[in-house]
Symmetry: C2
Subunit: 225 residues, 2 copies
């Protein structure tokens, strides 16, 4: 156990992932080529398949890794706000970190939130890491609720059962209107970042980041008055 081979294997897989990220950053996620990675490693193309059984498997590994990193930056941004009761600052920090992640590595953002790769179905392994960054928002909503803030929002009928389930199964102690508004904020943040990143704002406004600012400002006042 823990022989030369194992260490070599870890090194090889790490190198594959590194080259995959490099290639993804340069050419986009859909252009990821196992053959090119093998070529860069001085290996014959079939050798890659000893480490990743298919292109989808490598994609899954990259996706999980990206979700973890996104979760990590969101958590770090939230934790960096010293005054924990400054909920607006925490929302701004969290959302800003998510946007910065997208700007820093657009290919990763596209991998996570862009068009699903055709024929690729996200396996179970991804759903855990995928929810990590959303938990930061849920935590914040909990703190807002605990501070006594109550939101006046008529929760849509279709959402009520889900919120009851979240309460019963996950022990979520946040009022339904707060969660519902929080999910709305989540959608708006994700939408603003994606619209900005995918270039849909260039023909509307000159400073694409302004839409993000507006979204965050709006929800800062809505969620943490």
């Amino acid at each position: 156990m823990s022989g030369v081979r194992e260490r070599a294997r870890v090194a090889t897989t790490t190198e594959i992932v590194r080259l995959a990220r490099e290639q993804m950053a340069a050419e986009g996620a859909a252009a990821l080529s196992l053959r090119a990675i093998a070529r860069d490693m001085g290996m014959v193309s079939s050798g890659i398949y000893r480490y990743y059984a298919s292109r989808d498997e490598l994609l899954t590994a990259l996706i999980i890794d990206s979700y973890e990193r996104l979760g990590a930056v969101a958590e770090a941004a939230d934790q960096a706000v010293r005054r924990r009761s400054d909920h607006r600052a925490r929302l701004r920090a969290m959302a800003g970190a998510i946007r910065q992640f997208a700007i820093d590595s657009p290919s990763e953002w596209a991998l996570l939130f862009g068009t699903p790769v055709p024929g690729y179905a996200a396996p179970q392994d991804t759903i855990g890491p995928a929810t990590r960054y959303t938990l930061v928002l849920v935590e914040l909503l909990g703190d807002i609720a605990r501070s006594g803030v109550r939101h006046d929002f008529a929760v849509p009928r279709a959402m009520r059962a889900d919120l009851v389930r979240l309460h019963d199964v996950f022990g979520l102690e946040v009022p339904a209107p707060t969660i519902a508004l929080g999910l709305t904020a989540w959608a708006a943040i994700m939408g603003a970042v994606s619209l900005e990143l995918f270039g849909h704002l260039h023909n509307v406004i000159d400073q694409p980041g302004a839409l993000f600012d507006a979204v965050v400002d709006h929800y800062a006042t809505v969620l943490a008055p």
Copy 2:
């Protein structure tokens, strides 16, 4: 002029687009294959290039067409609301039509708002049709403003210059806070639809459409109180 040849050419290009849509619906936008289209038409693969010089050119044609259709459904939904002063109903109708478009043809939605195809840069031809569906929202915002509603929203600094430009260049007579909030609503709607369509809600809530409902409800009260 207007000879047999021209009609045959139109028929062929139409057939190509039809088959492309079919294929896209079945396998996703990124899996679109010129060879497969040629095969379906009983033509040798190189023949396609007489009609579309490249895969990207065909994609551009599909994108423009999809933008036009999205714009058309949004316009139709808005126009179908008889009481023009019922701004909430118009917002719901417009947003609902956009969501329905996405659900009906997810591959088209992915083509417009998903990951940009790697190496593909949207040419100038697309920006006109691309803005058509947003004009429906802008029109609505104008009617809301003209009805006397004033929104209390601090427009982000980065957005002010853009809104001034929209006013000066396009003659947009809508107060800045209204436009800013409207753009926020736009981001939220797009985000909710994309999150739902790309399957990012399945692990959060059971009824993915509920988030969309919440978003629309929220902005109905915010924009048209």
